[in-house]
């Protein structure tokens, strides 16, 4: 597969690409390993948290659900901060990412010490702050380490490794609980050790200060400030991409709503609800690399809206259910996973194409934050529609809006894509 690809993809524009190229740079594999290990660690905790609160501590977990809104807002801002800090001083992505991974790793042993709802909520909030901090620098490192023509594949490999970790985490956690009944402390301790290992892999195997791309001018002071971050939106390519990501984010149904819709509209018994995210993750895992490669071939900006087209088909299957039960559920989950595989890493790769290396982290954070806030707003609106008119009309409205936005994104991104091609050719 790799040989065929290397013949069909155009040669890279950068001068570093002369001679031998590996399928995915070592930096990307190292960052993928860090994400895999870290996700095992964090998903272990997530998987057992309800059980721990209810049967371990005797708490009713509804008590601290209110922290949720705070997480959502704060997480988005922290991501911007992480991207901005990573860009400063030329290239400090590795240090900022290490701080983010380290912060989350420290939270796991803290869970051994706190036993009340609000304190546990606070520790989980710090954990998420670490996640927000590291996301943009990590994606910036992936994009900076990879030749432009290979970015879709690189992000695909990273996301596949990340998802593998997320799928393994709960398995490890429940295996531990089987070894030691009620051994929640053992789960937290092991989770902490695994998280520490992730930080260590980052420190040892991800090159730091690898500088910006060869030949690029060092950023001058004013290019690095907050004003410069907003100034990034003057880049027409980034502005269009961010606009499309926001529009599409507003009209996609959030995961938890989608799983509820699937369960109710396709008549799946309620107790199978927790299995649905596994289906999406499995499809994402399998399709992330092939669709990343496809993005490199046909264009990231073309695949991103096509990914939403796949989701649109999924909504259609829910609106007009062809069959009930698993036979109806599986195609929707596969399409949902394919949607993530065609958009998640692909959006980062597409954004990287438009960004100067010195502002890669800030720019990626800007796109990611815009998308996240749009999705959060979209889910509030969708919740209101659902309450007012029920599932059918809410879903039909979301489907219609997504169709319009997808069509618009196809036009907007194709136009800016061809302009970019013209710019780089000249």
């Amino acid at each position: 597969m790799y040989l065929a690809d290397s013949r069909s993809t155009p040669p890279p524009h950068t001068s570093t690409g002369v001679g031998r190229r590996s399928a995915v740079p070592g930096t990307v594999l190292a960052l993928g390993a860090v994400s895999l290990v870290t996700d095992v660690s964090s998903e272990m905790v997530t998987a057992i948290m309800p059980l721990y609160l209810v049967t371990g501590l005797g708490l009713s977990p509804l008590g601290f659900g209110f922290l949720d809104g705070i997480y959502n807002g704060a997480g988005a801002l922290v991501r911007l901060l992480g991207g901005h800090l990573g860009d400063r001083g030329g290239n400090r992505h590795k240090s900022v990412a290490a701080a983010g991974y380290g912060l989350s790793a420290l939270c796991k042993p803290l869970l051994l010490l706190v036993t009340t709802g609000p304190l546990i909520g606070a520790v989980l909030a710090v954990d998420r702050t670490g996640k927000g901090l590291r996301t943009a620098p990590r994606d910036a490192m992936i994009s900076l380490a990879t030749e432009p023509a290979q970015r879709g594949r690189a992000f695909g490999v990273h996301r596949a490794m990340d998802t593998t970790g997320a799928l393994l985490g709960p398995l490890v956690a429940f295996a531990l609980l089987r070894l030691a009944v009620d051994g929640y402390d053992a789960v937290f301790a092991v989770s902490g050790c695994i998280a520490a290992l992730g930080v260590l892999i980052l420190l040892l195997f991800v090159p730091g200060h690898r500088g910006t791309e060869p030949g690029a001018a060092r950023p001058s002071g004013h290019e690095r400030g907050w004003r410069a971050a907003l100034g990034l939106l003057r880049l027409s390519g980034l502005r269009r991409l961010t606009g499309c990501a926001v529009l599409l984010g507003l009209t996609t149904v959030s995961d938890s709503f989608l799983y509820l819709l699937i369960q109710r509209r396709l008549g799946l018994p309620g107790h199978l609800l927790p299995l649905l995210p596994l289906g999406t993750a499995a499809a994402f895992l399998v399709l992330a690399v092939p669709l990343g490669v496809a993005a490199d071939r046909i264009g990231r900006r073309r695949l991103f809206p096509i990914g939403h087209l796949l989701l649109l088909v999924g909504y259609g299957l829910l609106l007009v259910p062809l069959s009930d039960g698993w036979a109806g559920v599986l195609p929707v989950l596969v399409l949902h996973g394919a949607f993530y595989a065609a958009t998640d890493g692909v959006l980062a790769a597409a954004a990287a194409d438009t960004l100067p290396p010195a502002q890669r982290g800030t720019g990626l954070a800007l796109v990611g934050t815009g998308q996240a806030l749009a999705r959060f707003t979209g889910s509030l609106v969708f919740g209101a529609l659902w309450s007012a008119w029920g599932t059918g009309i809410a879903l039909a409205t979301a489907t219609g809006a997504l169709a319009v936005c997808t069509a618009a994104a196809m036009v907007v991104l194709r136009r800016s894509g061809s302009r970019m091609a013209a710019e780089s050719a000249s």
């Binding site: 049967t55 509804l62 429940f174 040892l204 609800l273």
Partner: protein
């Protein structure tokens, strides 16, 4: 650092972290083992027969989940209601949550699957034989049976059923043991809040307490507010009748509801106090229990309440008069989820 020394550093770290992890798991497994051995000073426990109907002249009994260390940990156990600290007769039936009335028992228990932990609601007959069992969507929380034994209800916590990934929500079901008809999710009932029809996705229902085979009370929460709601099983309706009520428990004479009330100004991790609401006058009485109570209380008689408080071995059962007088007294250690029979 050369590549070799980096790999060496990683291997060293794997060994060190692996040892720490192995020690933590070993320690937890040892502790789990210890729980299988009786604890000095713990309640006396012996194999016995537990029945959900008291034979004539045998007197009232309390049946509950015994969390005392030893081979019968987490099994349903029975003691005379007059001697709650006496020797426990254990049944061999394990439950996380339990309740019984009218010869019917409901037992919410864990059911380990090949990939993930599952839970089941098991309906028990008077000899604790399994009649039917239903898979649950989440972690068991509350269980109740109607006085006749015909209806059972349970509540579980479900994760990922909400706007955000960390929020939890509840799902409450009612099962008719005569027809085995299951109302899987009470959120589908028609809800009236303050007299007006109300629909919102963030509605949660939990903690059913039955008055008869048609009517019950439960907690309804939406937009950060909790309510006492009166439910009608046949009409599938819920109507709020009071606010700031969680985990209601109807007195045997049907006149009062004991519940946990969120008291403003208390610490966020212990906001609940045990109160009693008179349904005719709608007056609230604070009980003499002044600590945080996160449980659905049970009426031992028309005048006394029983509820769980965190203890040395899981939870202990405490009792307090329902009229606000007296002081709380410990009823039994290492016990949870009581039901009074006979």
């Amino acid at each position: 650092m050369t590549r070799k020394s980096r790999i060496l550093a990683l291997l060293t770290a794997v060994l060190v972290l692996g040892s720490i992890a192995a020690f933590a798991v070993h320690h937890a497994a040892e502790r789990a083992d210890r729980r299988g051995r009786p604890q000095p000073g713990g309640p006396a426990v012996a194999d016995g027969r537990v029945s959900l109907t008291a034979p004539a002249g045998a007197g009232r009994r309390m049946i509950f989940r015994s969390t005392a260390y030893g081979p019968h940990r987490d099994e349903l156990a029975s003691v005379p209601a007059e001697q709650p600290g006496g020797q426990r007769a254990t049944s061999g039936v394990k439950c996380l949550r339990f309740f019984a009335a009218g010869g019917t028992g409901i037992c919410l228990r864990g059911a380990q699957g090949p990939l993930r932990n599952g839970y089941r609601a098991v309906v028990l007959d008077e000899r604790l034989n399994e009649q039917r069992s239903y898979p649950l969507a989440g972690v068991p929380s509350r269980a109740r049976v109607s006085p006749s034994g015909h209806l059972v209800a349970w509540t579980v916590f479900v994760k990922g059923d909400s706007y955000g990934a960390t929020a939890f929500s509840t799902r409450t079901s009612i099962l008719d043991t005569r027809t085995w008809k299951l109302q899987d999710n009470l959120e589908e009932y028609d809800l009236k809040v303050d007299g007006h029809g109300y629909r919102s996705l963030d509605v949660n229902v939990w903690g059913v307490t039955f008055s008869d085979d048609d009517h019950f009370y439960a907690t309804v929460s939406t937009r950060g507010q909790t309510y006492l709601a009166a439910g009608d099983v046949g009409a599938a309706t819920l109507t709020t009748v009071h606010s700031n009520v969680e985990c209601p428990s109807l007195s045997p004479d049907g006149t009062r509801v004991a519940y946990k009330r969120r008291v403003p100004g208390l610490p966020a991790d212990s906001p609940w106090r045990l109160n009693v609401l008179d349904l005719r006058t709608m007056t609230e009485t604070a009980t003499a229990e002044h600590s945080n109570i996160d449980d659905q209380a049970v009426w031992a008689t028309d005048t006394t309440l029983v509820y769980a408080r965190p203890g040395k071995f899981g939870t202990d059962l405490w009792t307090v008069p329902a009229d606000g007088s007296g002081t709380p007294k410990q009823l039994a250690s290492a016990a949870l989820a009581p039901a009074f029979i006979g």
